[in-house]
């Protein structure tokens, strides 16, 4: 890696030599700047954590309270070694951030994950200018184009109404952190029946509520009376619950999954869900491209996901672009 790199892949994340810190490391390091609390970005074991103030409660819920936690305000620069670091809202989940690192080698911007679509549970994405933009690329192909959120929420409500008519429980799978709460915020005041939460979603949802976010009312599934049929109800559960014995309490249910992956029919059919709802907390292809323009970077590095297509496309547009695989930095050089 050239010496003028502000950031280099290391420990499953990125290392900044000038500032002696890591961004989203997956291994224990002395000093970590954490963009958000999802497990592929935040791990326990760092000596010091720097993360957006809004995201701290969720982060400590996920990684524990061992270590020194430094809350950071969006848009307020702080010094780390020979660099000036600023966090900006990423619009991904509550308290998610992008990172601007200014050093004598230039200004680099790093996304953890981000989206451009509106989300009532987090501060909207805010672009900033940088020389090099390290962009996530989870949905880095032009087939990924999200429908408007309102349309998808409408589809979910239509499906739920249909389930009520057929007296079937509507079981909706989604990620326990971020997506579940975003949906609950969208459904606030519009739910046609009770909403139940899988145990894994309860504490995180409480975290959101404690920070003053208005979410639709929910009850824990564990509190349901024995033999209760859930015939009018919506049940939110993480994808790991699909096919588990836990599902037996919802006889004749209809199942749905909320995810950007549901844009592809084969992905839904392979998982055996009845319905797929295309609602993502990541940027879609147009969102990725627009963000590159907004950041005004001359060089783009794609990370997190299969970024070769996006990098190739940007090169054809006259930008410098390449793809980094951060995961390989986790492997020790001697392993085969």
């Amino acid at each position: 890696m050239a010496s003028n790199h502000v950031l280099v892949p290391d420990a499953g994340g990125l290392y900044c030599p000038a500032g002696d810190f890591w961004i989203d490391p997956l291994r224990a390091v002395p000093r970590a700047v954490v963009t958000h609390a999802h497990a592929d970005h935040a791990r326990s074991g760092a000596g010091q954590y720097f993360s957006a103030r809004e995201g701290l409660p969720v982060l400590t819920h996920r990684v524990g309270t061992t270590g020194e936690f430094n809350p950071v305000e969006y848009g307020e620069p702080f010094r780390l070694g020979q660099t000036r670091v600023t966090l900006f809202p990423a619009g991904h989940i509550l308290g998610s951030a992008t990172v601007r690192v200014e050093s004598e080698h230039g200004t680099w911007g790093v996304s953890g994950d981000f989206k451009r679509a509106p989300d009532p549970t987090c501060t909207p994405f805010q672009p900033f200018t940088c020389d090099v933009w390290l962009s996530e690329c989870t949905f880095g192909l032009p087939v990924y184009r999200w429908p408007p959120t309102e349309q998808v929420v409408g589809e979910i409500l239509d499906w739920w109404h249909g389930c009520i008519e057929a007296k079937r429980p509507a079981v909706l799978f989604c990620y326990a952190l971020g997506k579940a709460q975003r949906l609950l915020a969208e459904l606030a005041g519009r739910a046609p029946g009770p909403i139940w939460l899988h145990g894994a979603m309860q504490p995180l949802t409480d975290c959101y509520r404690e920070q003053g976010l208005v979410l639709a009312d929910t009850r824990p599934v564990s509190a349901a009376a024995k033999g209760y049929r859930f015939g009018q109800d919506l049940i939110l559960a993480p994808p790991s619950a699909a096919g588990s014995p836990w599902m037996r309490r919802f006889p004749k249910h209809s199942s749905g999954f909320i995810s950007g992956w549901m844009r592809i029919r084969g992905h839904r059919r392979r998982r055996g869900y009845d319905r797929g709802f295309v609602l993502s907390d990541h940027a879609d292809w147009p969102g990725l491209i627009d963000t590159v323009a907004d950041m005004q970077a001359q060089r783009v590095i794609t990370i997190h996901g299969n970024g070769e297509a996006l990098a190739g496309f940007l090169r054809e547009q006259g930008l410098q672009a390449e793809s980094w695989n951060l995961r390989t930095s986790l492997q020790t050089p001697s392993s085969p």
């Binding site: 192909l141 032009p142 087939v143 184009r145 209809s254 844009r263 592809i264 029919r265 084969g266 992905h267 059919r269 392979r270 055996g272 869900y273 009845d274 319905r275 297509a309 190739g312 496309f313 054809e316 995961r327 085969p336």
Partner: protein, 533 residues
């Protein structure tokens, strides 16, 4: 088109059979007959003749989206379905516009494409891409590209039609056989009350299919209530002799008239009003020839004298479905065989496949083990008092196939699958040792569990060596046991051999690459005529 798209959405949005059945019944009851006729056509797996090639479709997608061709290919690799890829890439259409019905779309817009110039064709398709939206556009693309699988079986469609018509589903199956055409009149006849008049003389009967026997034959009960036959390795076919005409139908319901002139000539000796079930085989000197010889005939619509001489065929009859113009399928097998005997005068191209003599179940394993030497696939076991049923009904007909050959091969290439397996590496190439190298010998797609597929997919992504388009070469680490049915020499393959129907038997995580088989082991099999290891 809106009604058909709505049906598709309902079928696509449930995994439950009853919900699918209800959606089909609702559609067939409410749709225009002409539209419903095309819906039957597509849902039962029939395709339109391809009028636009995929190269053109890709080019037009590039034109309509402004995307480079390679990015469209990358997208296709992820989606695993060209029709869907194009639909997802194209800018949203105008969903507010009125769209033609299914029959109008097919007959007025799609079929006329063949008479248009290249530019006109492009303009027609691109304009429909703007008019149609959502499932309608996806389905339009599916019709253009041919394949049409929406998670309903032909049997389910038949059940829905039977419910609409108020007749037995076997009658619907029969009415759909042969030369059924998607017209309004044909749909109305399809869902009409029962009558004998609606079948044309070329119409074949639905085939009765055997199920694989997993247990020992003795589990079937008393040996004398059963008949054993060889399981021939050819093309299942129905031979119809009615009104002085001969018709030969394949099990895929393809009319094969003209392809097997020697069988048709021999059929002229049959009495009128006879329908026989049997197998077409490459045949010489009272013996079947390898399937590879028959393959020389399969594609030939009008075989020349050389082909006729080098690859002679014969129809081996083993059941009689119609006798003296009467449907005799409900008679017990024993009686049907008597009719079969009466109808036949043996000739080289039309023969009576005699049952195998046996009196005790214990005689059968040895007979089955001799299958390879005899050039057959194994044994058929049929209950003597059973009627000729429809489709894959379990209980009366069993196939007891010989154990497949197996070998241990090394995974060297992987490629993403399609449909349900899109975006996952599920199409694998396996190699065996040849001196110091690994030489590819088989491609296989089936045999792993979803869990194994997911695990292997992750491994492949992390251990890719090189990419050639969608194909990835991987580190040779994993060994799999593969099964196959036969082997033949093939100058087209680097290994010099071609395996028939290879599939994965299991993942041999206990084996190292050095434990995999050698090409010489397989070639030895070739020398022995594929008869014994």
């Amino acid at each position: 088109m809106k009604a058909f798209a709505h049906l598709f959405d309902r079928l696509d949005r449930t995994t439950g059979t009853n919900a699918k059945l209800a959606a089909l019944v609702d559609y067939f009851r409410s749709a225009q007959a002409m539209d419903a006729a095309w819906a039957v056509q597509f849902l039962t797996g029939k395709r339109l003749k391809r009028l636009v090639n995929t190269r053109e479709l890709r080019a037009w997608t590039a034109m309509a989206t402004g995307l480079p061709a390679w990015l469209i290919e990358d997208s296709y690799e992820q989606v695993g379905d060209l029709a869907e890829t194009m639909h997802l890439l194209l800018p949203p259409g105008h969903s507010d516009r009125d769209t033609p019905g299914l029959a109008d779309l097919v007959e007025e817009q799609i079929q006329p494409l063949k008479t248009l110039s290249d530019e006109q064709r492009r303009d027609a398709v691109m304009s429909l891409w703007q008019t149609l939206d959502g499932s309608e556009r996806f389905l339009f693309n599916k019709l253009l590209t041919g394949g049409f699988r929406v998670g309903v079986s032909k049997r389910l469609v038949t059940r829905a039609l039977a419910e609409v018509a108020g007749v037995d589903s076997t009658l619907i199956t029969h009415r759909l056989m042969g030369r059924w055409q998607p017209t309004a009149a044909a749909f109305e006849a399809l869902v009409a009350p029962a009558s004998e008049a609606d079948l044309d003389t070329a119409t074949p009967y639905p085939f009765f299919l055997a199920s694989p026997l997993e247990a020992e034959p003795a589990s079937l009960g008393l040996a004398h209530e059963w008949q054993a036959e060889w399981k021939w390795d050819g093309i299942r076919a129905q031979l119809i002799r009615r009104g002085g005409e001969t018709y030969i139908w394949s099990r895929g319901e393809e009319l094969m008239s003209g392809r097997f002139p020697e069988i048709e000539a021999a059929a002229e000796s049959l009495p009128d009003g006879v329908v026989l079930d049997g197998e077409i085989l490459a045949w010489r000197d009272r013996q079947p020839l390898p399937f590879a010889v028959l393959q020389k005939r399969i594609g030939r619509k009008k075989p020349g004298p050389t082909t006729l001489k080098n690859a002679p065929v014969c129809f081996l009859a083993y059941d009689c479905l119609e006798w003296q113009g009467k449907d005799v399928r409900t008679l017990p097998l024993g009686q049907r065989l008597q009719h079969l005997g009466h109808s036949m005068s043996q000739s080289s191209a039309l023969q009576h496949a005699r049952p195998i003599d046996f009196s005790h179940w214990r005689e059968l394993p040895a007979l089955r083990d001799s299958a390879r030497e005899r050039g057959v696939e194994g044994l058929m076991l049929k209950r003597l008092d059973s009627p000729y049923r429809v489709g894959r009904t379990r209980g009366d007909w069993w196939k007891w196939k010989v154990e497949p050959y197996t070998f241990d091969g090394v995974l060297i290439y992987a490629q993403p699958g399609h449909g349900r397996r899109s975006g996952l590496f599920t199409d694998y190439t396996f190699a065996v040792h040849d001196q110091d190298a690994l030489v590819p010998v088989a491609k296989a797609y089936s045999g792993l569990t979803q869990k194994e597929i997911d695990r292997l997919d992750r491994w492949i992504r992390n251990h890719t060596r090189e990419r050639f388009g969608p194909v990835r070469s991987v580190e040779p680490v994993h060994v799999f046991e593969l099964a196959f049915e036969g082997i033949q020499a093939s100058p087209r393959h680097k290994s010099g051999i071609a395996l028939r129907f290879p599939r994965i038997q299991r993942w041999r995580e206990d084996l190292q690459v050095r434990d995999a088989d050698h090409l010489d082991d397989l070639k030895r099999l070739l020398k022995s005529g594929g008869k014994a290891i």
